[in-house]
Amino acid sequence: MGDTSHDKHEPHPAISRRNILILGGVALVTAALPLAFPRFEPDSHTLVDALAGLLVDRDAAARLGREWRLKSTGAREPRVIAASIGKRLVPYGWRKDGTPDELRTALLARIRHDFEVSDMVGISGWQLARTSAELCALAASLADEGKHDAA
C-alpha cells in the first residue's frame, strides 16, 4: 500500500482510510457512512476500473497524481474522482454502458476541450488537462489503497 497520509485539507479527517478499510469494503462503508462521502453514481465502481484500464502505465500516472495532490485539495476516494471524471465525459459521448473505446474517445475529446478552454493543471511545470490530472489522481488513490497493483 502506498502513502496514506492525509493533508490538512482532507474533508473528513475523523475517518481515516485505515478505518474505512477495517470496515471491510467500499460498499459497506458507503452504506454505513452516508454523510462521510459524497453520493456515488451506482456505476462509479465500474468506472474506476474502466478509467484505470485506459492507463498504459498506472504507476506512472500514480506518480503524477501524487505530485498533483501535493498542491491540490481534491478528492482522495477513487469513486469520487471517477464520478467527477465521468461527469466531465458525459458531454463528450460517454455512457455508463459504453465500451472502453468509447470511453477513450470521450476522454480524448474532453482533454482537448480542457486545453481549448485553458483548464490546465501544472504538475512540476508540465501543463496537463484537468481531466488528465484527475485521471492521475485516480491512479494515485488506487495505488495508495493497494487496490490496483502496479501495472
Binding site: L54, L55, V56, D57, A60, A61, R63, L64, E67, D101, R104, L107, L108, I111, R112, D114, F115, E116, S118, M120, G122, I123, S124, G125, W126, Q127, L128, A129, S132, L135, C136
Partner: protein, 512 residues
C-alpha cells in the same frame, strides 16, 4: 573612395550633398543606393576596416537598469554590428505596425504595406532567399515537410530565413569604393551635429579622430545611422544650440528603448512521435533556395483576442525519453524522472502503447519576446567621458511585470496548442516571478530610442524618418522602431533605409 580621417588636415571643411553618419547595415545600404546618382555623398565612419580596441571603447558606458552590456552588443568599425550578426531575418507582421489599444504607445505612422516592396529588396541586400516567410506551402515541399498541425488558432509555424550572414562591410566595400560620388571617411567620428541658431536646419557636422584631428562636413542633408543606441546619444550630444539635444524639444530622444528579452529554455516539450517534426524546426535547413528555420509564433487573432504582445519560439531536439533511463541521481528540482510518466499519460489518452522502451523525445525551446514601449526605459548621457571627450551613454533598460506576464501567458497558449494536438505536452520552466530586473539574455537589438510617430510629442522622427522640427536631418536604423515586434531588426531597418533612400532621392529631384 576611402579616406583615412587621420590624414585629413585640421580645419578642413568638406562640402557635400548628403552626409551619412555611420557605415553599418543602414549606412551602407543608404550609401549603395545613392551610388552613381547625381549627388555627392560623404559617408563618415568611426572605425577602420578592422576591429580596433580603442575605437570600440568609444561604445562603453553605464548600465543602471536591467544589466546590459553596451560595448559587447555592437561593433564600431566599417560594416558595424553586421561584422558579427547572426543573419536571422524575418519581416515584421502587419499587426506589429498597428495601433493596438492594449499596447501603450503602439502604432507606427506607416503600415506593413508601405514597407513590403522594400522588404523584398532588403531580402536581396541581405542575400536571403525568396520572400516566402509565411508560406507554409512553399516550405512544405508538397507535404513532405509539413509544419506541425497545431490546432486552436493561437500558435502557428512561421519561418526565418538566414542571411549567409552578409558582412555588409566586406561585401559592399568595393561598390562603395568604386562609386564616383561617394567619399568615405574612416576613423572619423562625428562629435556633434550642429544646427542653425533656431535649430531648424543642420548646418555642419563636427568630426574628430582619436589621433586628435578635427574637421567639418557641411551637408545639404544628413542621415544619422550610427545604430539603435548611438543615434540617440548623437542627438543628445548635439546640444550646443538646443541644450536638451537635437530633436528633443519634447524629451522623447533616448526614451522607449526596447530589446528582445531572450529566455533560454522557457519551456520544454515532450512529444510521443518525434517523426512528425520536420528538420527545419530543429536547425538551419537548406530548402527551396533558402536557409531557413521554423519557429512558433502567435497568431494575430490570438494576440488581438487575448490582448497580448508577441513571442518567437525556437524548438530543438534535446533527449530521447525511455522507460529504462536511470534517474537515480537526478536533480530533484528538474524532476526529469516524471518525463516518462508524462509520455505514458499521453499514450494512455490516445491508446498508443509504446512497443519498446522509447517513449518519445524531449525538446528544448528558446524565445525572444516583445516588450511594450516604455518611456522610462531609456538612453541618457552619463557624466563619464569617452576618449573623444564626449559623454558616454547611460542605459536604463526596463522590463516590467506586464512584459513578464505576457511571456508566461504566451507559454500557456503554447501548452494549449500542443495539448489540443494531443502529441505533445509543454512544461513551463519560465519562473513565475513578480519582477523582471534581470534579463536572462537579449538579442543585441536596440530599438525605439528615436521612434517614429507623426506626433512630435510621441516620436522623434516622422513617417519619412525626418527629425521633427529639423528640415534636413534624417535617422536610419532600428532606433526608428515605434514598437519592437518579436523578430530580429536588421531586415526591417534595411527596408526602412531603402524607403528613406527613395524619399531622399525624390527630395533631391525636387531640390532640397
Amino acid at each position: 573612395m576611402f579616406i583615412d580621417g587621420r590624414q585629413v588636415p585640421d580645419g578642413t571643411i568638406i562640402d557635400t550633398d548628403i552626409a551619412i553618419i555611420g557605415a553599418g547595415a543602414a549606412g551602407i545600404t543608404l550609401a549603395r543606393s545613392f551610388a552613381d546618382k547625381a549627388m555627392t555623398v560623404t559617408l563618415i565612419e568611426s572605425g577602420g576596416f578592422d576591429f580596433d580596441p580603442e575605437t570600440q571603447a568609444l561604445y562603453e558606458g553605464e548600465s543602471v537598469g536591467v544589466p546590459y552590456s553596451l560595448d559587447a552588443s555592437r561593433l564600431r568599425y566599417f560594416g558595424g554590428s553586421t561584422n558579427h550578426w547572426g543573419g536571422w531575418c524575418r519581416p515584421m507582421q502587419p499587426i506589429d505596425f498597428e495601433k493596438r489599444d492594449w499596447v501603450p504607445h503602439s502604432g507606427w505612422p506607416i503600415t506593413y504595406d508601405d514597407l513590403l516592396p522594400y522588404y523584398e529588396r532588403a531580402n536581396e541586400i541581405a542575400q536571403v532567399g525568396p520572400f516566402q516567410y509565411n508560406n507554409a506551402e512553399w516550405w512544405s515541399d508538397g507535404g513532405k515537410n509539413a509544419p506541425l498541425p497545431l490546432p486552436g488558432g493561437e500558435v502557428t509555424t512561421r519561418w526565418f530565413e538566414y542571411s549567409p550572414p552578409t558582412r555588409f562591410g566586406w561585401l559592399y566595400r568595393k561598390p562603395i569604393d568604386a562609386a564616383k560620388n561617394i567619399t568615405t571617411y574612416l576613423n572619423s567620428n562625428v562629435l556633434e551635429i550642429v544646427p542653425t541658431a533656431d535649430a531648424s536646419h543642420v548646418e555642419r557636422l563636427r568630426v574628430g579622430t582619436l589621433s586628435g584631428k578635427r574637421f567639418e562636413v557641411t551637408p545639404k542633408l544628413v542621415i544619422l545611422a550610427t545604430g539603435g543606441i548611438e543615434n540617440a546619444r548623437m542627438l543628445l550630444l548635439s546640444n550646443s544650440v538646443e541644450k536638451k539635444g537635437l530633436g528633443n524639444s519634447h524629451d522623447v530622444v533616448g526614451r522607449y528603448f526596447m530589446e528582445h528579452p531572450h529566455v533560454d529554455r522557457p519551456a520544454e516539450i515532450l512529444l510521443t512521435d518525434p517523426s512528425v517534426v520536420t528538420p527545419y524546426y530543429k536547425t538551419y535547413t537548406k530548402l527551396n533556395g533558402a536557409s531557413i528555420r521554423a519557429v512558433f509564433m502567435f497568431t494575430d487573432e490570438y494576440l488581438r483576442a487575448q490582448r497580448r504582445l508577441g513571442t518567437v519560439m525556437t524548438f530543438y531536439e534535446s533527449k530521447e525519453i525511455r522507460t529504462d533511463d536511470n534517474y537515480d541521481k537526478e536533480d530533484p528540482v528538474s524532476q526529469r524522472s516524471l518525463e516518462p510518466d508524462i509520455l505514458q499519460l499521453m499514450r494512455s489518452a490516445s491508446g498508443n502503447k509504446a512497443d519498446g522502451p522509447v517513449l518519445g523525445k524531449r525538446y528544448g525551446t528558446g524565445c525572444a519576446t516583445e516588450q511594450a514601449p516604455n518611456p522610462l526605459s531609456r538612453i541618457t548621457l552619463s557624466g563619464k567621458k569617452d576618449a573623444l571627450g564626449l559623454n558616454q551613454t547611460k542605459i536604463d533598460w526596463r522590463l516590467t511585470n506586464a512584459d513578464r506576464d505576457n511571456l508566461r501567458k504566451n507559454l500557456e497558449a503554447l501548452a494549449r496548442a500542443f495539448g489540443q494536438w494531443g502529441n505533445g505536452t509543454v512544461r513551463i520552466l519560465f519562473k513565475d516571478k513578480d519582477k523582471w530586473d534581470e534579463a536572462e539574455g537579449w538579442g543585441n537589438h536596440h530599438m525605439g530610442t528615436t521612434r517614429m510617430s507623426s506626433d512630435p510629442r510621441k516620436g522623434v522622427v516622422d513617417a519619412n524618418c525626418k527629425v521633427h522640427g529639423i528640415d534636413n536631418l534624417y535617422v536610419a536604423g532600428s532606433s526608428l522602431f515605434t514598437t519592437s515586434a518579436t523578430v530580429n531588426p536588421t531586415l526591417t531597418l534595411v527596408a526602412l533605409a531603402l524607403r528613406l533612400s527613395d524619399h531622399v532621392q525624390q527630395t533631391f529631384t525636387r531640390g532640397v
